[in-house]
C-alpha cells in the first residue's frame, strides 16, 4: 500500500463510495425516464466496481480483484448494453409510471434507511472488517431496490430494480465478509445474465399479448 493511502483514508473512501451508492439508489427511486434509469444502474455498477477494488487493495484479497473485474464487465458494460438494446427493440422510451407519487416514495425510502441502519448496527458492531460501517448502507440499498420493484408498474423498471438488488447484495457480501467464494460469485453473475436474457424474451411475449409492458395486465390472466 502506498504512503498516501493510509488504512484510515481507505476506510473513509469506501464509506464515501457506499454513501454514493445509497444516493444512486435514491436517484433510481426518483427517476422517471427509463433511459436515465439504465444509466443510473450502470453508474451504480461502476461505483460498486470502485468500492470492491478499494476493499481488494486495502485487504490484499486477490479474489476481490476478480470480482471487481467481473462486476465491471457485467454490470457496467454488458447488462446496460442489453437493456439499451431491449429498450430500442421494444420502443419503450416513455416516462415510467409509478404507483405512488415520487415524494411519498422518497419518504418511505427514508424510513427504510432508518430501519436498515438500526438493523445493521448490532451486526456491524461485532464485525472486525474495514468495511463494517457500510453494512447498514448495503442493507438499506437492498430495501430501496425492493421498494423500487414494488412501486413500478412497468416490466423494465422492475427488472432494473431486481438487478439493483443483486448489486446491493453483492455490496453487502463485500461489506460483511470481504466477498463470497469465487464459485458462488461466478454462479450468481451467470444467473443474473441468464435472468436478464429470459426476462428480455418475456418482455416481448408480454407486449405481444397485451400491447403494453404494464404488468398489471398479467392479473387478468385466468384459466378459462
Amino acid at each position: 500500500m502506498s504512503q498516501f493511502l493510509t488504512p484510515a483514508l481507505t476506510g473513509q473512501i469506501i464509506n464515501l463510495l457506499a454513501a454514493v451508492l445509497l444516493l444512486l439508489s435514491f436517484a433510481m427511486l426518483a427517476q422517471r425516464r427509463i433511459l436515465s434509469l439504465i444509466d443510473l444502474f450502470a453508474a451504480q455498477g461502476f461505483v460498486l466496481t470502485l468500492s470492491t477494488a478499494f476493499v481488494a487493495w486495502a485487504t490484499g484479497q486477490t479474489h476481490l480483484w476478480w470480482s471487481a473485474g467481473l462486476t465491471f464487465a457485467l454490470k457496467v458494460l454488458l447488462l446496460p448494453w442489453i437493456l439499451h438494446r431491449l429498450i430500442r427493440r421494444l420502443n419503450v422510451k416513455w416516462d415510467v409510471e409509478t404507483l405512488i407519487n415520487i415524494p411519498t416514495t422518497m419518504l418511505f425510502g427514508l424510513l427504510l434507511v432508518i430501519l436498515a441502519f438500526n438493523l445493521a448496527q448490532p451486526v456491524s458492531a461485532l464485525a472486525g472488517t474495514i468495511t463494517k460501517g457500510t453494512l447498514g448502507i448495503a442493507l438499506a440499498i437492498v430495501l430501496l431496490s425492493f421498494l423500487m420493484m414494488i412501486t413500478r408498474s412497468k416490466a423494465v423498471p422492475q427488472v432494473i430494480g431486481f438487478l439493483a438488488m443483486e448489486n446491493s447484495l453483492f455490496f453487502a457480501a463485500t461489506a460483511a465478509t470481504y466477498g463470497m467464494p469465487m464459485v458462488v460469485e461466478l454462479g450468481i453473475a451467470l444467473d443474473v445474465l441468464v435472468g436478464v436474457i429470459i426476462l428480455g424474451v418475456f418482455f416481448f411475449q408480454i407486449r405481444e399479448r397485451f400491447d403494453s409492458l404494464d404488468i398489471r395486465h398479467l392479473e387478468k390472466l385466468k384459466e378459462e
Binding site: A8, Q12, I13, L16, A18, A19, A30, M106, L110, G133
Partner: protein, 319 residues
C-alpha cells in the same frame, strides 16, 4: 451567554456588517454578469445593481390606496432582518461579539421573519398577483425550511454546537478526513438556497410574466426607496446564503479569534470564494430550466431527503 466586550471584536463586527451591506449588490451584479456571459450576451456590468439602487432611491415612493402602515414598514423590517442575519454569519472572522446572541436556528428564524413580513405586505394591498406570490412564497418557505434546518443540524452534530462561529472554528480545525455527510448536506444546501433566493429552477428573477413570478409578484406594488430596500435585502439574502455555505462547507481561510492579520487576509479569500460561488450559481441557472411550480415540492423534497440522509450517514459512519 455573551462573551466579554472588546473594542477589537466590536469593530470587527461592525466592519463585517458594513462590508456585507456594501458588497451584497456587487455579488448580485457579478452573478447577473456571469449569466449574461454564459448566454453570449455582453451583460449589464457588475455595478448595475448599485446604479439601480441609486435610481430607485432618488425616485418618489408611490403607495397604493388602502395600504396600511404595514406596507410602508415592511421594507425596513425585511432589510433589518437581513442585516441581523449577516451579523450572525462568520464571513471574515469568528470573533463576533454579536454571534453568541443567536445561533443557526435563530438565523433560520430571522429569515422566516423577513419572509412573513414581505408576504404580509404583498397581501396587504389586495391585488391578485401579490396574494398569489405570497402564497407561493409561503409554500416554498415551508418546504425549504426543514431541509435548511437539518443541514444546519448536521453541521452542528459534527461540531457539537449550534453556534455558527463555533461550528466554523471546529470545521476548519479538524484533521483532513472525508465526510460523506457534509457532501450530502452541501448538495441539499445548494438546492435550498436556489429555492430561497428565487433562482432559476424554482423562480426566475428576470421574468416579466406575472403568472410565473414568485418573489417579483410580491414586490410588484413597491416603488422608489421601498423597492430599493427590498432589492437590497434580496441581494443581502443571497449574500447571507452564500456566506453560510462557505462557512459550513469551505471554512478554510476564515480568521480565528481576534487575529487582525487573519482578518485582512480573510477578505481576499472571501472575495475569491464568493466570485467562484457566484459563477457556479450562474452556471446552474444557465444549465437548468425553470420548473413548474408543482414540481417545486419534489425538488425541495429531494433536498430534505438529502439532508436527512446526511444526518443518518453522520450517525452511521462518523461516530
Amino acid at each position: 451567554m455573551l462573551s466579554e466586550f472588546s473594542w477589537a471584536g466590536a469593530s470587527a463586527q461592525l466592519t463585517e456588517i458594513l462590508l456585507a451591506v456594501l458588497l451584497a449588490p456587487l455579488l448580485l451584479g457579478w452573478v447577473n454578469q456571469c449569466r449574461a456571459w454564459l448566454q453570449n450576451k455582453s451583460g449589464p456590468g457588475v455595478l448595475r445593481p448599485y446604479l439601480m439602487l441609486r435610481k430607485l432611491m432618488a425616485k418618489d415612493a408611490v403607495v397604493a390606496h388602502g395600504a396600511s402602515p404595514l406596507f410602508r414598514t415592511a421594507p425596513y423590517i425585511v432589510f433589518g432582518c437581513m442585516v441581523l442575519a449577516v451579523a450572525i454569519v462568520p464571513t471574515l472572522g469568528t470573533d463576533l461579539p454579536y454571534a453568541p446572541a443567536a445561533d443557526a436556528i435563530a438565523l433560520v428564524g430571522i429569515l422566516a421573519l423577513a419572509r412573513v413580513f414581505i408576504s404580509l405586505a404583498a397581501m396587504d394591498i389586495g391585488t391578485a398577483f401579490g396574494t398569489l406570490g405570497a402564497r407561493r412564497e409561503m409554500m416554498i418557505g415551508f418546504l425549504a425550511e426543514p431541509a435548511l434546518l437539518i443541514v444546519l443540524f448536521t453541521a452542528s452534530l459534527i461540531s457539537q454546537s449550534t453556534s455558527l462561529a463555533t461550528t466554523v472554528e471546529t470545521l476548519s480545525h479538524r484533521e483532513l478526513a472525508i465526510y460523506p455527510s457534509l457532501a450530502f448536506a452541501g448538495v441539499a444546501f445548494t438546492m435550498v438556497s436556489l429555492a430561497e433566493n428565487a433562482r432559476i429552477p424554482v423562480d426566475n428573477p428576470a421574468t416579466h410574466l406575472e403568472l410565473t413570478m414568485i418573489h417579483e409578484a410580491m414586490v410588484l406594488e413597491y416603488s422608489g426607496r421601498h423597492l430599493a430596500l427590498i432589492e437590497w435585502a434580496a441581494s443581502l439574502k443571497l449574500f447571507v446564503y452564500s456566506c453560510v455555505g462557505i462557512a459550513l462547507f469551505f471554512p478554510f481561510g476564515i480568521a480565528q479569534g481576534g487575529d487582525a492579520a487573519g482578518l485582512l487576509l480573510a477578505l481576499p479569500t472571501l472575495a475569491f470564494k464568493l466570485a467562484i460561488g457566484g459563477f457556479l450559481l450562474a452556471v446552474i441557472e444557465t444549465l437548468s430550466a425553470k420548473m413548474r411550480i408543482f414540481r417545486a415540492p419534489e425538488f425541495l423534497g429531494t433536498a430534505f431527503m438529502l439532508a436527512v440522509l446526511a444526518l443518518l450517514l453522520h450517525a452511521l459512519l462518523e461516530t
